[in-house]
Amino acid sequence: MTAARRRKHRMILPLIAAVLLMLPQQYAQKAEAAENKTITLVCRQDDTILSGMEWTLYRIGKRNGSEVEFIPELSGYSMDLGDLSADAVDTAAKTIASYVAEAGLAPLSNGSTNTSGELAFGGLNNGLYLAVGKTLQVGNTTYFPSALLLEINDADAGIDYDAYPKFYYSDLSNQATKYTVRKIWADNDDQYQKRPQEISVDLFKDGTRYDTVLLNAENEWEYTWSALNDGAVWTVAEREIPADYSVMIDSNNTQFVIRNSYQAPPETTAPPQTTVPPQTTPPPQLVQTGQLWWPVLPLSLGGIILIGAGISMRAGKKKDEE
């Protein structure tokens, strides 16, 4: 190795070493930036500030186009989240909250709102999160928070979310209250003969399993239980979602609906049924709606070429004869 080449190597090697040393730092900074987003829940409205309201945050997955890609713990539940429009997102959040309880999912973080009625969850990545709150008693008023479905994406450094409860009750006494869960089948009156004989429903009180009940045709797919109205948050979940169905769960303060919609298996996805008579069922290929026009051009061209060839043959023959 010449002296000049040795000098060159002496210059390049430290440069490579410096770059290699910087790389982990750059990745670390990038990761830090990606995990430095914040969700702030705001529980105040006009002069009412709800401090001390407890919230638990779960990471449930991410959005992939219009679909939700759940984390593995939740991916086994066939949840019907609707179109995730403003109207549907509340019900979607309730449905997911039910299965977060059913799956026993570990929370990502929890905390209480401060004296300004705010609670910030920091260090978050892009993705979909579910915030589940506990009821809060302020004087004679009990506030019932709704489960919230929240998303952080590339466009956000963080989000502030109005988490002020939609429901509150002024005179919540510790008296027995009746709660009812009812199954609703969205399957054209069992047209597809896929309904199970019965289903198991888990009842959760403040996220802890309280009871498991069976719903079937005999009890008209309905169960009612009584419990002290002590401000607990009740949720229900269908333990095993029937094959070929998806589930949506909605609730108000005393009623719970478990709605199972029939989902045609992928291999039989066909256009929705209409009043079209049976003979209009689309065939495996599109209907042939063309007249036989294509032979016209080759026939005409072929004919012209042959006539031309015949005439030239005749001319050649005449020449030969001459």
Binding site: D87, T274, P284, Q285, T289, G290, Q291, W293, G303, L306
Partner: protein
């Protein structure tokens, strides 16, 4: 024999041109017959279709959504509510018709048969699938010049209408045009009710593909936001 070869070649050429001419004549005759049949049927059909109601019921108002206070009633009523208001077909001769199409930019007005078959297609455009009420209607017809042979001349923004057997005219505007392979049934149905509300299609001249007109319904009820 060798001397007459040129005659055979010329004769063969003449026969080929004659065959092409006869095929043209046959196609034109078939198209004219279809045009005459469609015209006659349309006249009868229009007489049997009632005048449109003075004020068509708005689908959004037809089935009021119950309040969500009582969840059970809310969801049960949603399940039992009629999905669509059915329109009865009108039977003329041995065939049932579901309405007629008016394509002003092509100067065409054509009856639409409720169900399709190859004999039906020789007489009039046919419903392939769906309905105007559910915004997924697909109508097909032969590429006769008197039927859908010129739908490729429609352009984005062209307006036309489909009048159902209740006399209610549904206006549409062409949103996009595509050519779909003859085997690609999936693509024909892709985006129904979302990307388009009505589709018209016919064969290309080669018969290998389908000229497909996608249209949006202009009187579509606003979806609840």
């Amino acid at each position: 024999m060798k001397n007459n070869t040129w005659k055979l070649v010329v004769l063969l050429g003449v026969l080929m041109i004659a065959a092409a001419g006869l095929l043209c004549l046959y196609n034109i005759r078939q198209s004219n017959e279809a045009a005459a049949h469609s015209e006659a049927i349309l006249e009868t059909l229009k007489k049997q279709i009632p005048e449109p109601p003075a004020e068509a019921p708005k689908p959004a108002e037809a089935a009021p959504v119950p309040a969500k206070e009582d969840l059970f009633t809310y969801y049960e009523e949603a399940e039992t509510a009629p999905v669509q208001s059915e329109t009865a077909d009108i039977v003329i001769g041995n065939a049932a018709y579901c309405g007629y199409l008016t394509l002003p930019s092509l100067g065409l007005e054509l009856p639409v048969m409720s169900s399709w078959s190859y004999p039906n297609l020789k007489l009039a455009p046919c419903r392939y699938s769906g309905s105007a009420e559910t915004n997924d209607l697909i109508i097909m017809a032969h590429n006769y010049s008197s039927h859908f042979g010129r739908i490729g001349e429609l352009t984005t923004g062209s307006q036309f209408s489909f009048t159902d057997t209740n006399g209610i005219g549904h206006p549409y505007r062409v949103s996009f045009i595509e050519v779909i392979g003859g085997q690609d049934v999936e693509q024909m149905f892709r985006g129904q009710s979302a990307d388009w509300d009505l589709t018209l299609y016919t064969c290309t001249l080669s018969g290998q593909s389908r000229v497909t007109i996608r249209a949006d319904r202009l009187d579509k009820p606003e979806e609840a936001s």
